[in-house]
């Protein structure tokens, strides 16, 4: 039977690939960054069970890399798609790593010796990486990659330290972009989501005040593999953040600046992050400013009840009007109205976390054009019918799962990924 193409190596893409591979179908898993894992790999803990995120994800990533039926194409993007269900011809462009994948053992010596520092996007900019780097300690494949835009050799033809120190001679500056032609029976789109940049909501001071973070930046800060090793030292002056405020619906449920929809999961991950802070230091003061607490998932309400009663997290119904920074003490003041009591007041905080909207990835546009699919007004893939065919699309043989068609949490993405795998298996059998 023809293989199946899975686009996107996050938790949804991994689950779809494993489901299909386990039942005997060959799978091509195309991921645009140097490693699979997606956003889930960046998280510290997951709710409601407080598992360490990478500890439950890495085994699945390793299963993918060792599965005889799965071929992982990293730093690759789908450029052209022709044909139809049962017989898609797909052109994939693989960007060069400038590192020979079979020789590199991921020892990391090259990164240690590389002189060039670059903003580390995987650490959400809270730390630097080198021009030659391994994306994160549990990356799969555990292979280095050269960022040609910042590498001294590619920019100015000098240096070459990495090839000198590499113990297994894996550096290959001559590597060229590679076009891979695939013929597959069906396509599963699992491109995931991106975090909305709240800079335009200037009243919250993101970008102006260094201690106003987005939720992803907080996840990296609190994570043991993060820039501070998990200590909550605030970015401005390294002071330990004792008082933290979470502001919900930043860029969501808004018809001016931002998006009108609700991102479904922020109330819960804010609760989780609040509990993490309380676990770090029970004496810390954590306030969550919300409008309607979204507790609709399995075990969610109980998780919130525990956060309130056991951990002492404080929930205040009121969307703060503004966040201010005292230019002398650098402490932040949040002005809000507790709409349940009607009094307008303020709270001091060492750090403010903005829970922003989960928006579509910009690459969806190019992929949609290649597939000949429609995107909705916010750039998410459109299901064939949001009620009766949520994971099918207008194009037979192309299925969608996870955040590629809207914000949802990990269990739903995983369930939909298996669902998309079922659809792909049905197509594979129909065109056997």
């Amino acid at each position: 039977m023809k293989p199946v193409l899975v686009i996107g190596g996050g938790v949804a893409g991994i689950q779809a690939a494993l489901d299909l591979a386990d039942r005997g179908l060959k799978v091509h898993l195309v991921e645009k960054s140097p490693s699979i894992g997606g956003v889930m790999a960046q998280l510290d803990k997951t709710l409601p069970t407080m598992d360490c995120s990478i500890c439950i994800l890495a085994p699945k990533m390793i299963e993918c890399s060792r599965h005889p039926n799965i071929t992982i194409h990293t730093q690759s993007q789908v450029k052209e798609v022709a044909g139809g269900a049962g017989n898609f011809d797909v052109k994939v462009l693989k960007e060069p790593r400038s590192v020979n994948e079979s020789k590199c053992t991921g020892c990391g010596v090259c990164s240690q010796k590389c002189p060039t520092k670059v903003r580390n996007d995987w650490q959400e900019g809270l730390a630097d990486r080198k021009a030659i780097y391994i994306m994160f300690p549990q990356a799969v494949p555990l292979t280095a990659t050269i960022d040609r835009d910042h590498c001294l050799y590619f920019q100015k033809g000098v240096c070459q330290v990495c090839s000198k120190v590499c113990p297994s001679g894996a550096i290959d500056y001559e590597q060229k972009p590679e076009e891979i032609d695939l013929n597959v029976s069906s396509i599963v789109v699992a491109t995931g989501f991106q975090e909305y940049d709240p800079s335009e909501l200037k009243e919250y001071g993101y970008g102006r005040f260094k201690d106003v973070l987005t939720a992803m930046e907080f996840e990296r800060l609190v994570c043991a593999s993060g820039p501070t090793g998990g200590h909550l030292n605030r970015p401005s002056d390294g002071k330990l953040a004792q008082r933290v405020a979470f502001i919900q619906c930043v860029g969501s449920r808004s018809h001016k600046k931002g998006y009108p929809f609700c991102s479904s999961v922020c109330c819960m991950y804010a609760t989780k992050e609040a509990v993490l802070i309380k676990e770090h230091d029970p004496a810390s003061e954590v306030n969550i400013f919300y409008m309607d607490l979204k507790v609709f998932g399995k075990g969610f309400q109980q998780f919130v009840d525990r956060a309130k009663s056991h951990y002492g997290v404080v929930y205040i119904r009121g969307r703060p009007g503004e966040v201010r920074m005292n230019p002398v003490t650098r402490d932040l003041t949040i002005w809000y109205e507790d709409t349940n009591t009607g009094d307008v007041t303020s709270k001091e905080a060492d750090m403010v976390v903005l829970c922003t909207t989960m928006i579509a990835r910009p690459e969806n546009k190019e992929l949609a054009e290649a597939l000949g699919l429609e995107l909705d007004e916010w750039g998410f893939f459109k299901p064939l019918n949001p009620l009766t065919n949520p994971i099918e699309t207008g194009l037979p043989g192309v299925f969608i799962c996870g955040c590629s068609h809207g914000p949802r949490d990990i269990p739903e993405s995983v369930a939909e990924a298996s669902g998309a795998a079922a659809c792909a298996a049905e197509v594979a059998r129909r065109f056997m």
Binding site: K202, M325, P327, V328, T333
Partner: protein
């Protein structure tokens, strides 16, 4: 650059400091001002609360006169500026209202079409004259002085129809202060309100709101507060003594200036030509230091 100058009630009746300093400094920066004939109140504080149509009629009346004179229209007061911008917005959105108001204007031989461009003093100084031109003309740079900028609510909000400066992080007045050789820095209360429009309903609260800002400005170590709006100036300068009483803060002594007064001093004009004798707040110390 030629503008039709609109004074507005507060400036023409009592805030002479702003008008004097504007008339004195603008020619030096190549800005020509032409006075209006037959202008009246813009209607904003007077009628907007009791007669919306009356408010838009009065604003449209001044806009109609300005349209005839042909120059860009420069109201000196933030309140009047917002009133004209909002009136143009409402009349464009509601043709019936526009026709009703034009039937009244015809009685005075006037006609409002909405072609005139309303410009704010900050836009003239920052965008058209420019910081380089201003710092080039300096005679007495204001070295070592730290001023807090107060652009005023009606200049920067609402940003859906007001395009003078960024509503949350206004920088133009700050840049203009730096152009005089002085220093300034961002402080959280910069975009807070002076509370003047509340005076008619609750004087005590007005003084508290204005007082909070003055105390903040003092606490951050600024040497003085700078604004271009007569309403805000009247609150921070004219009512500072009343604020001290209301807040029981005898130590409150914040010198308050119109930007064009500081501009005048920096360009070497005499203080009395800039109406500095009318400032009620303790400005003498700073004026003498600048004049040395």
């Amino acid at each position: 650059m030629k503008y039709t100058l609109y004074l507005g009630c507060t400036v023409q009746s009592e805030q002479f400091g702003l008008e004097a300093s504007v008339r004195e400094t603008m020619p030096r920066l190549g800005v020509e001002l032409e006075d209006m004939k037959g202008a009246s109140c813009c209607g904003f504080p007077a009628l907007s609360s009791v007669s919306k149509v009356g408010w838009h009629y009065l604003s449209a009346r001044n806009l109609a006169i300005a349209e005839e004179m042909g120059n860009d229209f420069l109201p000196l007061c933030n309140g009047c500026h917002l009133s004209f911008v909002e009136t143009m917005h409402y009349l464009e959105a509601d043709p019936d209202l526009k026709n009703l108001i034009n039937t009244h204007l015809e009685k005075e031989g006037l006609q409002y079409e909405g072609k005139v461009k309303v410009v704010h003093l900050l836009e003239v100084l920052h965008d058209r004259v420019g910081e380089k031109k201003i710092s080039g003309e300096l005679v007495k740079p204001l070295e070592g002085l730290k001023f807090a900028s107060h652009p005023g609510c009606h200049a920067i909000r609402p940003s859906d129809i007001q395009k003078v400066d960024d509503p949350e992080d206004p920088r133009k007045l700050d840049n203009l202060i730096k152009a005089l050789g002085a220093e300034t820095f961002d402080y959280p209360e910069k975009i807070d309100c002076c509370g003047s429009q509340l005076a008619v309903a609750s004087g005590r609260t007005t003084l508290k709101i204005a007082g909070d800002k003055l105390q903040a400005v003092k606490s951050y170590g600024f040497d003085g507060l700078v604004t271009t709006c007569p309403f805000c100036f009247k609150m921070y300068d004219g009512r500072q003594r009343a604020i001290k009483g209301a807040l029981k803060d005898s130590s409150l002594d914040v010198p308050v200036f119109y930007y064009t007064q500081l501009l005048g001093l920096a360009l070497g004009f005499r203080p009395e030509r800039l109406g500095l004798q009318l400032n009620q707040s303790p400005v003498d110390g700073l004026v003498e230091r600048i004049m040395e």
